[in-house]
């Protein structure tokens, strides 16, 4: 197995996903198959190859530091699951 249960648990936490105990085996099996296939990449010598993040040549894109119109607060909050006094509202973050 390329991916251990520990790896999967760790990635699930990073991803803010809970993987049910009964799904773990199936998940591990599928990930193993996919990552084993991807091992073909190691056949290639990429020692002197530069990585590509964007396919087309692109330099830093700047814009003027000008104030422009943006969404008003009401529109920006319109889709919020929970809001109060013009803010997004979330469950308790700090202990105690």
């Amino acid at each position: 197995m390329k991916v251990t249960k520990e790896d999967l648990d760790n990635v699930a936490v990073l991803s803010r996903l809970a993987i049910a105990e009964e799904d773990t085996e199936r998940y591990l099996g599928q990930l193993d198959k996919i990552l084993t296939y991807m091992d073909n990449l190691s056949e290639l010598d990429t020692e002197n190859v530069k990585p590509t993040t964007y396919a087309l040549p692109m330099q830093n894109v700047f814009r003027k530091d000008e104030v422009k119109e943006s969404l008003d607060r009401e529109a920006a909050l319109a889709n919020a699951p929970l809001k109060e006094d013009g803010y997004f509202k979330v469950p308790k973050v700090l202990e105690g």
Partner: protein
């Protein structure tokens, strides 16, 4: 012949010549939706009243003797990952079930300036992850040519509606083939523009370095017209190209004399359906007859493109989809504290394939695996792009299959994600290299299913692929055939 069967350019002439009204046309397409949508299920939202109101306004404009634009009054529909102000945009995900965008995507702003009739929002694989539209959290879409088959994906609703006559044109998006493959499966034309040609502002992000919006249409003429409308630099998308946008309709010319067409041997592989290969070989012969020069080429890193793509796209997706945390928009599932709320929301509201790609992406990006997977994939991306650059020193365009088979049965690949990923071998390399590609019909299988071929161009050279596609299209009538559905035709 009903109005819904005609392409936009024919309908535009009929509107201009006052042979029809936009209300008549819109009512005919809405009637077609009533007739066949139960079988095809291409839509997630139909905006019937707004569509008819728009059609009426266009008719009043025509009655006043005003000129109309190409798309004015012509009904089309939009993939549900493109933000439409005031109209629900779900990405076919439960997590955005009630999301109503407070703004329009740039492509919508550009479209609305042309005043088309917008019929609604189209089904897709959840967050554009998939090649069959089976990953929609709402319902699968069926292929109009055989409703037991998938329409392809992820823009399956877009391709199926254009093929079924429930829209005249549609917008889709293509991250690894999501316009071209469903276009091929449904017998319509689909174009993925060069990366940066069309603004991604307001397109719900999947793989930001790969995503492009493009048209799905009945024929190449409509495709060129819609590309004219949606292309161009946008300050709101810093990756959008500043290159000048030509008039793509000027490329609608029947001429491939001396055009050098490359055939990459790696794209004609074992496991390809012989009927698909036969149709594509026949198209190649046709090009020869019409004066094109066929050149055998090699794109040696093709076999590695799938691996690179299925690491890069999930890594970008894992990052982009962090925003669905139950806080600022989208659904929320309560939990005892903040992290529990976020975890519950994502676990319950994301579908299986979306979760799988987030896990793969975060795995490839995590400490200890970053170099072996993500960095390696980005280096291989360079090699894939260099293959094309070398090939384009010898040829003007590249001709290839879109998919190894015609549309497969719904459920046929369920439970085997790797097999599903391998279907994308001919489409993902373009996205890695940022190149434009057009899929157009080139035949039918013995079971009557459409077969498509793909013409790939140099960066920012959509004109040459449009010219090559148009020239072939004029030599046959595959694009004029409509699926038999609902007892019509």
């Amino acid at each position: 012949m009903r109005l819904y069967e005609k392409p936009a350019h024919v309908l535009h002439e009929m509107l201009v010549n006052k042979e029809i009204t936009s209300v008549e046309l819109t009512e005919d397409v809405l009637a077609r939706i009533d007739e066949v949508e139960g079988e095809v299920k291409a839509y997630l939202t139909v905006t019937r009243d707004e569509a008819l109101a728009r059609a009426k306004a266009v008719d009043e404009k025509i009655a006043r003797g005003e000129e109309i634009s190409f798309l004015e009054g012509i009904p089309g529909a939009i993939k549900d990952n493109i933000c439409t102000k005031g109209v629900r945009t779900t990405c076919a995900s439960k997590i955005l079930e009630h999301f109503v965008p407070p703004y329009d995507a740039t492509v919508m702003t550009k479209l609305k300036a042309e005043n088309p009739v917008i019929l609604g929002k189209l089904n897709m694989d959840e967050f554009a992850m998939g090649g069959s539209t089976e990953n929609s959290a709402y319902h699968p879409t069926c292929n109009p040519w055989n409703t037991e088959c998938v329409p392809g994906g992820s823009s399956g609703g877009s391709a199926a509606s254009v093929a079924a006559g429930t829209s005249i044109w549609a917008l889709g998006s293509d991250t690894g083939g999501s316009i071209r493959q469903p276009a091929s499966f449904c017998g319509v034309v689909g174009l993925k523009p060069t990366y940066g040609r069309v603004s991604r502002y307001g397109l719900v992000a999947y793989g930001s370095s790969l995503d492009q919006i493009g048209p799905l249409t009945r024929d190449v003429t409509d495709c060129a017209h819609i590309l004219n409308v949606i292309s161009g630099h946008d300050d709101m998308d810093s990756t959008s190209s500043e290159a000048a946008v030509p008039d793509f309709t000027k490329a609608l010319v029947e001429d491939v004399k001396g055009l050098k067409i490359g055939l990459p041997k790696e794209y004609f592989v074992k496991g390809m359906d012989p009927e698909v290969e036969k149709a594509i070989r026949a198209a190649i012969e046709k090009y020869k007859e019409m004066g094109a020069e066929i050149v055998d080429i090699s794109l040696p890193h093709t076999d590695y493109a799938i691996s690179a793509y299925y690491l890069i796209a999930p890594a970008e997706a894992a990052t982009n989809l962090q925003r669905y945390d139950g806080v600022s928009y989208g659904e929320r599932v309560e939990g005892e504290d903040l992290v529990a709320m976020m975890t519950n929301t994502r676990t319950e509201k994301f579908g299986e394939e979306v979760k799988r790609r987030i896990v793969i992406g975060n795995y490839a990006l995590s400490a200890g695996y970053y170099d072996a997977y993500y960095l390696k994939a980005m280096k291989v991306r360079t090699l894939v792009a260099e293959d094309y650059a070398k090939a384009f020193e010898q040829v003007d365009v590249i001709l290839a299959p879109v998919a190894p088979t015609t549309a497969f049965k719904i459920g046929e690949m369920a439970g085997d994600p790797l097999q599903m990923y391998l279907q994308d071998a001919c489409t993902v390399p373009l996205n890695l290299a940022g190149l434009p590609g057009i899929s157009l019909p080139c035949g039918f299988s013995s079971k009557g299913m459409p077969i498509g071929m793909q013409i790939i161009g140099k960066a920012l050279d959509e004109e040459t692929i449009i010219r090559a596609a148009y020239t072939y299209e004029q030599s046959q009538d595959y694009h004029t055939k409509m699926a038999k559905l609902g007892g019509n035709n």
